[in-house]
């Protein structure tokens, strides 16, 4: 059947069932899970939160904790069942033959030990080597994960290096014992996009260089496509589709996999003509899984009698050659070629008059240094230059995206707009009113109502102590929209209708809501005061993929109908390309480039935009992408580089002028602006970052 039968798989999971035992009884977390990983292969496990993907990783490590247990099935590592091994044997395998890299690098490193000591521990503990040898191997490995100046890193404490460098150290540590199997659990989720691109490149090279087998757990299909040979898609504790990456991406057979792909913004989707299609309904709780196919209540192809039979549905082979299996009884009946799901589409809205104008806005934070050295040197005050010379115009019904990595000043910009911080210089004009020096408490209720915000973290956005209804009602009262309790109540109901939630949610408390529902309430709250500008700070980045599509669709839909101006702050360029009319790219407090969405995504590019675009993982096999990995680290805004802020990492840096002189903004005839010394004519010659191959 397979050409690899002679070789023992590194890891084989056979009919694994894993349950957690809690006060409420047994909760099956993973059901009938099968996986075969050959030496040198890399397997991606993708799924939304709660689908059991991390539980699989923990079971492989045999780290189930007190209340979790592998109920049945075998987990074979190099042909031996991990279940039958004793604690001592497991300990000798963990860290030497199976290593794991977690999401938060800082949580995996001991903050009180030098990195060198922590690295050297690995060979010293698992092998009998001398200290000198352990040190040499640590140094070599740091060089292998492409950390600059390994000697300095060895002597540093974890907090002294950046997040990206920490994650590289963790990967180096995991590789030091030359493991046969490396587990990566969302290793780049906590990192910035350009840093992520570097780590992804590294992970790809590792499997080639060391021949390590990998299991890569992620919620991001694009990352899996870039790093893995094979993929397993999980849904509600089951693997629903598995196979070679190319086979699954090009000929996906399970309706859930289809749904996932339809809900991520790929090149080609567009909020007006080709909208995202969210998966309807919600992930069932493990206790309430339906009979038969777990996806059936959300599936467009559900057929009573076939999909809801008693007993589970087993995996069926799609193609033997690609080892492509799918857990769907109807996969052969479904005519995918003629299936066009319909999303929330709408007409392009006319962009109206200017609503918000920011002119030469500057925001410096003072850092008082009261140390003795500073007093002797006479340098007591330093400035964090969070925003430098921000110029921006937003019109009625327009979506302007502000894009940049952490520390680029996008949140500071939002704070100045909202009146939580005063601008150091410049003007912020909202509907003809100058606001840059008026803190929010001194603004009139109507003015405050005009400018509202949707926040990033759904778990933080609502006050857990108050009901959802009273939190929306408070906004209505506060902004004097209504004062009569009945009318306020009526308005709350209208707002719940607007965000497509049942009216009885008004009496619920935030903890009774899912992440997506909380975010909807956050949107209802922002629109309660009939705002003309809504600032959305990464409104979907903390949500699951299928929920992201629904919330993004909702937000753009409401905005379109109410002709609200939306300032969409994000680091995710694929979402930004989907929702926005114009894009502003920020780096270290400066606007590097601004223009319409088309202008930003096509040459001429600012070199930073170019790198940012190439760093976005794209889950589409027909898109060819150039890879640009930025060198170096993001400079500190306290001590920005001289000249062009991007010069320390710029792959197109020219010569002395980049280091000495701040580049001027170059404008094209259409209003596209780039802050770079390289002439626009030159930048125009740059090749496209993405190329969509013609579908055949």
């Amino acid at each position: 059947m397979l050409p690899t039968t002679a070789v023992t798989p590194v890891l084989e999971c056979k009919n694994v069932n894993i349950s957690y035992y809690t006060r409420a009884g047994e909760i099956p977390a993973v059901i009938d899970f099968n996986l075969t990983l050959m030496p040198g292969e890399s397997m991606g496990i993708v799924g939304e939160s709660g689908c059991g993907k991390s539980t699989v990783a923990l079971a492989i490590m045999q780290y189930m904790g007190k209340n979790g247990r592998v109920k049945s099935g075998q987990i074979l590592f190099n042909g031996r069942d991990l279940q039958t091994m004793g604690e001592d044997e497991l300990r000798s395998i963990r860290g030497s033959q199976i290593s794991m890299v977690y999401q938060e690098p800082m949580a995996s490193l001991n903050p009180s030990m030098k990195i060198g000591e922590q690295l050297m521990e690995v060979p010293l503990y698992h092998e009998s080597v001398t200290e000198a040898e352990a040190k040499q191997r640590s140094l070599d490995m740091l060089a292998a994960v492409r950390l600059p100046d390994p000697q300095r890193i060895m002597d540093a404490y974890p907090h002294q290096i950046s997040g990206g460098q920490q994650q590289r150290v963790v990967i180096a540590m995991a590789l030091l014992s030359k493991p046969a199997l490396l587990l990566l659990d969302e290793p780049t989720t906590a990192l910035d996009v350009t840093v992520e691109a570097g780590i992804v490149q590294l992970i790809k090279d590792i499997s080639k260089q060391f021949g390590t087998s990998m299991i890569y757990i992620s919620h991001n299909l694009g990352l899996i496509l870039e790093t893995c040979d094979r993929i397993t898609v999980m849904y509600s504790g089951e693997a629903v589709e598995a196979g070679a990456v190319q086979s699954v991406f090009n000929e996906m057979r399970h309706p859930y996999t289809r749904g996932l792909f339809a809900s991520i913004p790929l090149p080609g989707t567009n909020k007006n003509s080709r909208p995202l299609v969210p998966i309807r309904g919600q992930l069932p709780l493990p206790q309430n899984r339906p009979q038969g196919c777990y996806f059936s209540p959300r599936c467009d192809f559900f057929q009573a009698g076939r999909c809801d039979t008693k007993g589970g549905i087993s995996m069926r082979p799609v193609s033997d050659e690609q080892r492509h299996d799918v857990r769907c009884v109807r996969f052969e009946d479904i005519d995918w070629a003629n299936y066009r799901p319909i999303g929330l589409s709408g007409d392009k809205v006319e962009i109206g008059k200017t609503v918000l104008e920011v002119k030469h806005m500057k925001k410096y934070y003072e850092l008082k240094d009261s140390s003795l050295i500073a007093m002797i040197k006479g340098k007591k005050v330093q400035y964090v230059k969070a925003n430098e010379d921000i110029n921006l115009v937003a019109h009625e019904a327009e979506t302007v995206a502000i894009v940049g990595e952490s520390g680029c000043g996008k949140s500071t910009f939002a704070k100045v707009l909202m009146g939580l911080e005063e601008a150091t210089e410049g003007e912020v004009i909202l509907n003809g009113l100058e606001l840059s020096h008026t803190p929010v408490q001194q603004r009139k209720a109507q003015t405050v109502a005009l400018l509202q915000m949707v926040f990033q973290n759904p778990f933080d956005t609502l006050n857990p102590s108050h009901t959802v209804g009273s939190q929306i009602a408070r906004v209505i009262k506060k902004f004097d929209i209504e004062s009569d309790p009945d009318k306020i109540n009526q308005r709350v109901m209208e707002l719940l209708d607007l965000v497509k939630l049942p009216r009885d949610f008004a009496l619920r408390r935030p903890r009774q809501l899912s992440g997506g529902q909380k975010q909807r309430i956050g949107i209802a709250r922002a629109f309660a005061g009939r705002p003309s500008v809504v600032v959305a700070d990464e409104p979907v980045s903390a949500l699951d993929v299928s929920v992201q599509a629904a919330v993004t669709g909702l937000l753009t839909d409401i905005q379109r109908n109410l002709k609200t101006t939306l300032l969409f702050i994000s680091h995710d360029l694929s979402v930004v390309r989907y929702v926005s009319d114009r894009i502003v790219v920020m780096y270290l407090g400066h606007i590097m480039e601004q223009g319409t969405t088309d202008e930003i995504f096509n040459p001429p590019y600012h070199p930073y935009t170019e790198a940012l675009l190439s760093a976005v993982p794209i889950a589409d096999t027909s898109v060819k992408k150039r890879h640009i990995v930025l060198e170096g680290e993001l400079p500190s805004p306290v001590n920005p580089p001289s000249g062009c802020p991007f010069q320390t990492r710029c792959p197109r840096k020219m010569c002395a002028i980049c280091e000495t002189q701040l580049p001027a903004l170059q404008h094209t005839d259409t209003g596209h602006a780039i802050m770079c010394h390289i002439p626009i004519a030159e930048l125009r010659k740059v090749e496209q970052v993405f190329q969509v191959e013609a579908a055949n």
Partner: protein, 298 residues
């Protein structure tokens, strides 16, 4: 629409759910045997305190026959179930009336300390900067005095009474409560819902009292329970030193003070109030442990 729900005016519904939640919390307590023992001990003393006027007890201050043993017959034919003290007062009656005193004053003093401590803590934590410096400085001054010395100073200035006890306990406890609340608020104030309240221009006091404090309640309920225990200790200590509730009214600390010199030939008049005191404090501590256990489990 028919399913439109009124929530803003429908206060009774909300209150009902609160009562329901309270009973649900009590039901959860059954899962913590330790907490259950604590709760029963406290309920026992609360019942005693409430029923004190209705029980067939002697007047706690009536002077009858001194140094009667446990179960001795009283001059009027009744029984001194727990004997009498050196002045001839009924010990059972004094313990039960003493429970009422200590529970009322301990609860009241803790409540006042909490109001003061929470206000200081939320102000210092939310405002930061100078407000924090000043409040923390004041708190540190009070924390640097040993508790007993602080109490002696206050009682010496104000004279002995229940109110003085309240002031003393507040001065001693509020700075500690302030520190806990300040720490909680420093964490809570970075949440987006606080940011949301700021962006709609809420006043700082609204944010502090309506948005922040309700979310700090979890750890504070556990601490309040422990602190009630400390306050009972504090009131007994003050009574023992003669600085607490003024005589002749029954007070457990005072009863101990009077009994200790005579311990050799009237042991029960010393052990019985001590046991009462210990059981009540134990009750508060066990309940706090149980609450913590339950809150960690969810």
């Amino acid at each position: 629409m028919t399913d439109a729900v009124k929530f803003d005016t429908a206060l009774p519904a909300k209150r009902e759910s609160r009562l329901k939640r309270f009973f649900q919390a009590l039901a959860l307590m059954r899962e913590s045997p330790v907490g259950m023992i604590g709760l029963l001990l406290i309920l026992f003393w609360v019942m005693m305190a409430i029923l004190a006027p209705f029980l067939p007890l002697y007047d706690p201050n009536a002077i009858m026959a001194p140094f009667q043993k446990i179960g001795a017959t009283a001059p009027d034919g009744g029984i001194f179930w727990l004997g009498t003290d050196h002045k001839g007062r009924d010990i059972l009656s004094r313990i039960i009336w003493g429970a009422q005193k200590v529970l009322i004053w301990a609860t009241f003093a803790t409540f006042v300390a909490y109001v003061v401590g929470m206000l200081m803590g939320v102000l210092a934590g939310y405002k930061g900067g100078w407000a924090d410096e000043i409040v923390s400085f004041i708190a540190n001054i009070f924390l640097s005095f040993p508790f007993i010395i602080l109490c002696i100073i206050i009682v010496a200035t104000l004279g002995a009474s229940g109110w003085t006890v309240v002031v003393a306990v507040t001065f001693a406890s509020a700075p500690q409560i302030m520190r806990i609340v300040r720490g909680l608020v420093l964490d809570l104030k970075t949440r987006d819902y606080i940011f949301a309240a700021q962006t709609r221009g809420e006043s700082p006091w609204y944010i502090m009292l309506v948005e922040l404090l309700p979310n700090a309640r979890g750890p504070l309920i556990v601490d309040a329970c422990l602190r009630l225990g400390y306050t009972v200790v504090a009131i007994a200590t003050l009574g023992f030193l003669g600085l607490g509730l003024p005589p002749p009214d029954p007070d457990w600390g005072l009863m101990l003070k009077e009994a200790v010199p005579l311990g050799a030939f009237a042991g029960h008049s010393m052990y019985l109030p001590a046991a009462a005191l210990a059981s009540l404090i134990l009750g508060f501590n066990l309940l706090a442990d149980g609450l913590r256990e339950i809150s960690l489990r969810d």
